[in-house]
Symmetry: C2
Subunit: 224 residues, 2 copies
Amino acid sequence: MAKVLSKNHPLLTDDIYESIKSLLMDHVILPGERVSIDALARDLKVSQTPIREALARLEADELVVRKPLTGYSATQVLTFKELLDLYEFRFLNEQKAIELATKKLTIDGEKKLKAELATVKKIPPGSKYKAYRFVSEHDARFHQLIFQLSGNSFMESAFLKTHCHLHLFRLSPTTSEVRNLALKEHGDIVKAMASRDIKLARTAMLTHLVNSRERILPFLLEMP
Amino acid sequence: MAKVLSKNHPLLTDDIYESIKSLLMDHVILPGERVSIDALARDLKVSQTPIREALARLEADELVVRKPLTGYSATQVLTFKELLDLYEFRFLNEQKAIELATKKLTIDGEKKLKAELATVKKIPPGSKYKAYRFVSEHDARFHQLIFQLSGNSFMESAFLKTHCHLHLFRLSPTTSEVRNLALKEHGDIVKAMASRDIKLARTAMLTHLVNSRERILPFLLEMP
DNA sequence: TTACGAAAAATCCTATACGATAAAACGTAT
DNA sequence: ATACGTTTTATCGTATAGGATTTTTCGTAA
């Protein structure tokens, strides 16, 4: 019996892809844990095909790894060195992105930035985990928006595929307050961009990233 | 009837992935052309499953695009703006990569670079197309090697996923001589790295990339 | 000749069956 | 108690059927 395709879900695989990514994000699937195609198909109530397609894409994203005749498993959390490498990549590309974005910033772009800032004016009530996830999602959107405004699609998709917010979230899923410091820094970044001061914008971004790395590092040091 | 897995083919999907990528590279599948799952399964003599998995990965690579209820089709060749964006990305990341690689270059790394140079000491006889593809493959390996030597796996895989040599090859698959000029520039790059002169190495890389872009541009300008 | 509409073909998307392999559980012997 | 070998289980990889949708083809009318 074929499943009817709703207009809201033109591609089942896309939904499944996002679902599995959420499972990884939320530690429902733990780092290193095996990811069974059969089990996922049963749990998500779909056939194996969309699961396989989603996992193939996640493999390309390096969020899962595949071992021949054994199956998929979730990627391990970042090592110390990998975290430093990730931030080195971000320093380089996000400074360039904000430079480009500031250079060609329109009124509309400015509006979008401020609208994104506004989404976290007040954090919704709920568990610390929920609040942290909320801020983390804003962070992901904010940084991606700057890449969008840079106008370079290659840089944008390269950044997207680092999945840095997912990696960082998996490192420290329980913390809460410290992360909110980032919100002020986001404001500083937008202010610098709005003033069309490229050098200031670069500095604001670098400061934000350096601080972000410092906030994460302690969580990594107390790991095995 | 299930197919027996040979030891040389631990993951059929990987082979299929490479096969389809070659079809795109060699214009057997033209830019914009539809990519039928059924047809590929018939032609490559495998079931649909590995085809679907390979296409899902190629979609993540942005080498094919998927339209709901219509299927996959090959990505269009780069527009003028996209080509400039691609090179902007390369300027930024490859200069950083060569800086890192030069900084930590070992004797072994130096050997690998020279070995890669040696692979194109003499271009094998055959059609112009063959020769061009041969040089193009060396070019891909050479640039990837520098990312490897940089030690930053995020930057390496970000570069890998731009698939720049595939994009560029699709733009100008018929040319020949001009491309060989790049070989001398590769030599200059290795020489600069071997002398551990970081600034010189950066310059050599930038020069190479700028020239490479200039060599490609004419082909793009005469396109629709 | 061109435009429009209906029928036919091709294709996608899902579901499911089955053989082959690897991982895990279990029992026995040392 | 531990190590080893066998059996059981779980999972992968492939193949194939069938419904739903889109694209193409073909015929008719203006």
